[in-house]
Structures are given as structure tokens and as C-alpha cells.
């Protein structure tokens, strides 16, 4: 019989499945962060003058800022000068179709289970694949175009739809928002752009798949999604990275804009390399995600399943500006080994009759440390605003940590805010009970954890829910306490 300590140690040794790297010819800029590199990036991407200026403003803001100190973990030392800010698979010429994409790249995505080949794609999910800094392929473009849906790389949007980009870029997350957002504004590489026209219900899931491959690079992509009046879109994001001994920085920015009665559903399954059992290596996932419900009766819903990264530090937020608009945040964050998560959401109730719902499920195993941090604010104009927050923590083993930092600020007497929180532990009794019914310990943990996170996984589109469920089982394999 295996005792629980051995089993706990086991998960630590569980290998990261996506830790391979791809050997491919790359254009990599020399390390260093300065105006020259920003100009280089902007020139490489053939950007208009206004965008370069915006980048430079971001850089100026960045230089004046310091790293925050309020987080519930020790800020790692980041040598931003040692990073390279541009890495791209070398292209022989402009790509016209998927057939011209480097087969090595296609093979990499195939290995990751990302179907880039439209003919073979069964799931009806349109994918934009971002390899290091550059979007390499976007599928189903033609079909989407028929409906007026724009789904392309950010770089392409800058060229093809400059007015939309100019109008909305930085309108939700300004270049001065925080130090990582400022850095992103200065050096952002690529990312995805989505525009759903008035009255269109996007017929398929849109998905971006991020892959960091190159060494000593950071990944700074930007996603901008605009849902015009009465439109709907569901957007998915997935990510992996090779195993490397040094930490890699991922500082992305996501901006969502929902106009009148529009709905945006944004789902993330985050599985960046988490580092090894001693906490060596892994991705620093310092991301700014924010959406604004600009129009009346609009809705934004964030769902995240966070299992990877050495440090996950993000608060996907919603500004409820339109009257009767609605914001949701569903989260599962898993930490094990020496992973750290400090995540949660911010919901700002500004409009009348705005509603929000927060369901957060933290799971801590090994020596992982999990914090939920959330803000619910209600402004003076937000009559009859409603919020419900449920914040649960599940502990596996006795070396992990779990913390909750809820902030509530209400400046309106008619607001109703509810907060519920629980902490529980997977007990040896529960495991033994399941063992006694023929279920081994790993399956037992998976069963309990999946039961625990069901409410959140139910929010994910079907294929992703299945993937997330598998991912959780793999991530927690052997973690019994």
C-alpha cells in the first residue's frame, strides 16, 4: 500500500506533457528593452505611425512605473533587459494558405492536438494559432467572412481594419493601466482580433492557441474582441510551452467590448509549463484581461481553468457600464508543486440594475499557494445592482496554502451583495471509501475534484469541458492527502 506522502510526492514527479520544443528557423531580435526594439517591432510589422506612437507612449509610461507590492507572493526578479522582444518563425515569403505554413509548425500544433487543417477539423472551431510572437494560421476565415465576422491576427487587423483597431485599442486596458499592460503596449507582438457585426451570432467557437517556443523570449500578445449591437461570440484560448529551466514571461492584454445587448463569452484553459517540482522554470503568467459592457443589457462572461504557469497573476474583470448589463466570472485555479496563483476578478457596477456572478474554485496541492482576490464595487448610479460571489477552496495534502481576499465597495444603498466562502479538504476517509468501492486513489481524486469544479466546467463549450476535465485529472494525478 502506498501512503499518502508518497502519493503526494508522486504528483511532483509527473512530467509536463507539452514540454517539447520545436526546432525551427527563427528570426529573433537581440535581447534588450529600448526604443530601438520598439521601432524595430513596429517596422517589422509595417505599422502606421499612430500605432508606433502609442507603443512609445506605453514605453514612457512603463519606465515611470514600479512593480506592485500588494500581491500575496514574493515578486520574482525579472530581468527585462535580458529578454528578446521579438521571435518569429522565419517565413520564406508571404503565406497565402495553410499549405505554405512550415510543416514543422503544423506538426507542432498537430502534436498539441490543435487542428489547423480545415479539411480535417471536425469540431467546427475556428483557430488562430500564435507561435511565439506571431500568428501563424487562422482557420475558417472564409466562412466567417461571409457573415461579416472578422477573425484574424492582430497584425493583420492593423493593416486591414485600422479604424476599428484605432478606435478600440487601449480603450478598456489603457497603456497606463499597470506596469505589465504598459510593457505590453510597448512591445506587443501579435495576437487575435475579432469583430462581430451588428445582429450576428457567430456560428462557431473562435479559438486562439498560444505556444511559446523560443528561449529567452517573452510573449506579449494582445487580443481585442468587439461585439457590436445584438451580437454574440464565444471565444476560447489555450496555451502551452516547452519545459525550460529559466522562467519565461507572458504578459498579455485582452480587451473585450460588448455593445448594446451583445454577449461575449471568453473561456481560457491555461496550461503553460508550471516549472518542475522544486519550482525551477515555468511561465510567469502576468496578464491583464478586462471587458466592458458598454451597451445596455450586454453581457460578458469569463471562464478560466488555470492549471499551468509557475505564477498565475490575473484578474479578468468586467466594467458594467450599460444599464442592466451583466458580468460573470467562473474560475478553477489549480496549484501543485511550488506553483502560485493570485487570481480573481474585479466587477465594477456602474449602470443601473447591473448584475454579476462570481464562482471561484481554488484547488491547492503539493506546496502550491492559491489566493483568490476579488473586488466588487458598486457606484452611486448603480441602483439595484446585484452581486453574488461564491469562493471555495479545496486542499489536498497538508503543505499547500489557500487564501481569500475579497474586497467589497458599495456606494449605493440599494445594492445587494452576497459573499459565500468555504474551505474543504479531500480527506483520507473519502479516498478510502472510494478505494473500498474499487476506485483507485487517482481516480478517486479526479472524481472528487471534477465534482467540485463541475459548476465552472459546465460553463465551458463541450469540447473544452472534456479537455479541461482530462487536464485536471492529469494535473492532480496522484495527489492524495
Amino acid at each position: 500500500m502506498i501512503n499518502s506522502n508518497e502519493i503526494i510526492d508522486d504528483i511532483a514527479n509527473k512530467e509536463y506533457e507539452f514540454g517539447f520544443s520545436t526546432d525551427i528557423e527563427m528570426d529573433i531580435a537581440p535581447p534588450g528593452l529600448n526604443e530601438d526594439i520598439i521601432r524595430f517591432i513596429s517596422a517589422k510589422k509595417n505599422e502606421p505611425e499612430w500605432l508606433l506612437e502609442w507603443r512609445l507612449k506605453g514605453f514612457a509610461a512603463f519606465k515611470k512605473m514600479e512593480f506592485p507590492k500588494w500581491q500575496h507572493f514574493e515578486m520574482p526578479k525579472l530581468d527585462l533587459q535580458a529578454l528578446s522582444y521579438y521571435a518569429a518563425p522565419r517565413k520564406k515569403k508571404q503565406l497565402n494558405s495553410l499549405d505554405e505554413v512550415d510543416p514543422e509548425l503544423l506538426a507542432t500544433f498537430a502534436k498539441l492536438g490543435i487542428p489547423l487543417n480545415e479539411q480535417k477539423a471536425l469540431t467546427g472551431v475556428a483557430v488562430d494559432a500564435v507561435f511565439d510572437s506571431v500568428s501563424v494560421a487562422t482557420t475558417f476565415k472564409g466562412k466567417l467572412k461571409e457573415m461579416g465576422v472578422i477573425f484574424c491576427s492582430f497584425g493583420e487587423a492593423v493593416q486591414e481594419h485600422p479604424d476599428l483597431v484605432k478606435k478600440y485599442l487601449g480603450s478598456v486596458v489603457p497603456h497606463t493601466d499597470n506596469i505589465f499592460a504598459a510593457l505590453n503596449a510597448a512591445v506587443f507582438s501579435d495576437g487575435s482580433f475579432v469583430y462581430i457585426p451588428k445582429g450576428v451570432r457567430c456560428p462557431m467557437e473562435l479559438s486562439t492557441y498560444f505556444r511559446i517556443n523560443a528561449q529567452n523570449t517573452g510573449q506579449f500578445e494582445r487580443t481585442l474582441i468587439i461585439a457590436d449591437d445584438n451580437s454574440y461570440v464565444s471565444y476560447l484560448e489555450g496555451c502551452t510551452a516547452p519545459m525550460r529551466d529559466e522562467n519565461q514571461l507572458h504578459a498579455a492584454v485582452v480587451e473585450l467590448i460588448a455593445l448594446e445587448q451583445a454577449e461575449i463569452k471568453y473561456s481560457t484553459v491555461q496550461n503553460w509549463y508550471p516549472g518542475d517540482k522544486d519550482g525551477k522554470g515555468g511561465i510567469y503568467n502576468f496578464v491583464t484581461k478586462r471587458g466592458i459592457c458598454k451597451g445596455a443589457a450586454s453581457k460578458i462572461s469569463w471562464t478560466q481553468v488555470e492549471t499551468g504557469s509557475a505564477i498565475t497573476w490575473k484578474y479578468p474583470s468586467v466594467i458594467l457600464q450599460g444599464d442592466h448589463s451583466e458580468g460573470e466570472f467562473y474560475s478553477v485555479a489549480v496549484v501543485r508543486n511550488k506553483q502560485i496563483a493570485d487570481t480573481g476578478t474585479k466587477i465594477h457596477h456602474i449602470g443601473k440594475g447591473t448584475k454579476s456572478r462570481i464562482i471561484s474554485k481554488g484547488i491547492s496541492a503539493g506546496r502550491g499557494d492559491n489566493s483568490y482576490r476579488g473586488l466588487v464595487s458598486v457606484g452611486p448610479r448603480a441602483d439595484n445592482a446585484r452581486n453574488f460571489t461564491q469562493c471555495d477552496s479545496l486542499l489536498i495534502g497538508n503543505q499547500c496554502g489557500s487564501h481569500t481576499f475579497p474586497y467589497i465597495e458599495s456606494r449605493n444603498k440599494t445594492a445587494m451583495i452576497e459573499h459565500e466562502a468555504t474551505t474543504s479538504k479531500i480527506g483520507e476517509d473519502q479516498i478510502f471509501y472510494l478505494n473500498q468501492r474499487g476506485i483507485d486513489s487517482e481516480k478517486a481524486v479526479a472524481l472528487i475534484v471534477n465534482g467540485y469544479v463541475k459548476e465552472v466546467l459546465n460553463q465551458l463549450p463541450m469540447e473544452f469541458a472534456v479537455e479541461a476535465q482530462k487536464l485536471l485529472s492529469i494535473t492532480l494525478e496522484g495527489s492524495v492527502g
Binding site: M1, N3, N435, Q436, G438
Partner: protein, 254 residues
């Protein structure tokens, strides 16, 4: 089917079982009685493989296989079932999903394919009726918010579903009112057959009025000190355990 030879076990250095010998054949119903702290529930835990018990001496053979070498889930898949004295609650995991997982794990072990949803539901319905288990408890989280009686009935329902060869009922009667006791006992009686054996651990003779044992063993201080038939249970009910203890001390002092 089950042979226990000179079984010694301890918990945190404290000797609990001090040489148990017991032979159980197919189709037999054995009752184990004894005063508090005599080691009844410990015996159940050791047989099921709870890991805070250390076996220091002795052997346990189940259908010719060394039971003590097996992990708890293997024992379960081989056909050893423990109806818990205190069934745990597992929030978020539905009774149905749990049972389906358990059943299919056991089937996979035996080289059988997983049951299809329809067959599974059919089986569920059939067994529910057999042991009089409320169908509205099926979709609830496993034992969460169940009353004491509902939890015990759920144990018997699981027993019916998983169809083990050996069922150990650890004080299944404790905390049951007289009606629930009758329902649970009826369920057990319906499950009795020539292939299945039972070990019923109880404090009280009351249960044995409903479930008639073939053998009654008295466990005291980690050993079986007397074995008899159902009449022994009646005698215990009347006279308590003291006369047995005295008998034992007399024997030991000679």
C-alpha cells in the same frame, strides 16, 4: 472463501487484534459480537485494507489469494465489500456517477466491458426496488445531507449494485430506528444466496432477529473467545459479556 489465520494488527503501536482465526465458506452468514473496544470494527478495517492499521502477524486468504498483499481497491475488485459504520459524505459527486464509476472499475478488473447507460439504469432501478432505496437520493451528492438511516440504506444499495462475494457489515444497525432496521435487514436477506457470504458486526442481538446468522463469534480483547450459533446471541443478550470474560480468565489462570 475467506481464511483468517492468527491475525495480529496494531494502530499507532497499540495492539488491537491479537490472533484472530476465522474460516468463512460460501453462502454463510457470520455474526461478530463483542463489547466496545474488543476489536470488531478494527477487524473490518484490516480486511478492507485501511492504511493506518499495521498487520504484524498472520495471514488472510481470499479465494486462494493473499488479501493482505492487495491495495484496498484490489480487494474491492476481488469481491470484498465493507458497509461502513460511518459512511463519508462526498459533495459534488453524485451517487449515480459514483456507482457507475465503481461498478465499471470492478467490471474492467474482471475483463468485462463497461455497462451502457441504459443497462446501468435498468440495474439501478431493479436494485433500488430490491432494497427499497429512494430514487430521489440517486442524483444527490454521495451521502451529502443524508440522514443516518439513508446513509446505511445507501450502503446496502451499493452492496446490491456491486454484488461482492464477501460483504462485511460494520454495525450497519447502529443509529437505525426499528423501521429502518427492518428495511435494511430485508435488503440484506434478499441479497443472501449460495455464493455470497456475510460478516455482520453488531453490538446487539436485535439485528440478528431479522438476519439469522449461521455462526456467532464473540470477539473480546482482540481474539475470538467463543463461537456458537444464533442461540449464543440470545444468551449474550440475556447475560451480557461478563460471564464470558470470567470464563476466559478462569481458563487463562489455570
Amino acid at each position: 472463501m475467506l481464511t483468517i489465520k492468527n491475525l495480529h494488527a496494531e494502530v499507532e503501536g497499540k495492539k488491537i487484534l491479537k490472533g484472530i482465526n476465522l474460516e468463512i465458506n460460501k453462502g454463510e452468514m457470520h455474526a461478530i459480537m463483542g463489547p466496545n473496544g474488543s476489536g470488531k470494527s478494527s477487524l473490518a478495517s484490516v480486511l478492507a485494507g485501511r492504511d493506518n492499521y499495521t498487520v504484524t502477524e498472520g495471514e488472510v486468504w481470499f479465494n486462494g489469494k493473499n488479501l493482505l498483499d492487495m491495495a484496498p481497491e484490489e480487494r474491492a475488485r476481488e469481491g470484498v465489500f465493507l458497509a461502513f459504520q460511518y459512511p463519508v459524505e462526498i459533495p459534488g459527486v453524485s451517487n449515480l456517477n459514483f456507482l457507475k464509476t465503481a461498478l465499471n472499475e470492478i467490471r474492467a478488473y474482471k475483463g468485462l466491458p463497461a455497462l451502457e447507460a441504459r443497462e446501468f439504469l435498468k440495474l439501478t432501478k431493479e436494485k433500488q426496488q430490491l432494497v427499497d432505496f429512494h430514487s430521489n437520493l440517486m442524483n444527490r451528492s454521495l451521502n451529502e445531507g443524508f440522514s443516518g438511516g439513508e446513509k446505511k440504506r445507501n450502503e446496502i444499495f451499493q452492496l446490491a449494485m456491486l454484488d461482492p462475494q464477501l460483504a462485511i457489515l460494520d454495525e450497519t444497525d447502529s443509529g437505525l430506528d426499528i423501521d429502518a432496521l427492518r428495511i435494511v435487514s430485508n435488503g440484506v436477506n434478499k441479497l443472501r444466496d449460495a455464493e455470497k457470504s456475510f460478516v455482520v458486526i453488531t453490538h446487539y442481538q436485535r439485528l440478528l432477529e431479522y438476519i439469522i446468522p449461521d455462526f456467532v463469534h464473540v470477539l473480546y480483547n482482540g481474539r475470538i473467545i467463543k463461537t456458537g450459533t444464533k442461540e449464543l446471541a440470545l444468551e449474550l443478550e440475556e447475560r451480557g459479556y461478563d460471564w464470558l470474560k470470567e470464563e476466559l480468565h478462569l481458563k487463562e489462570s489455570v
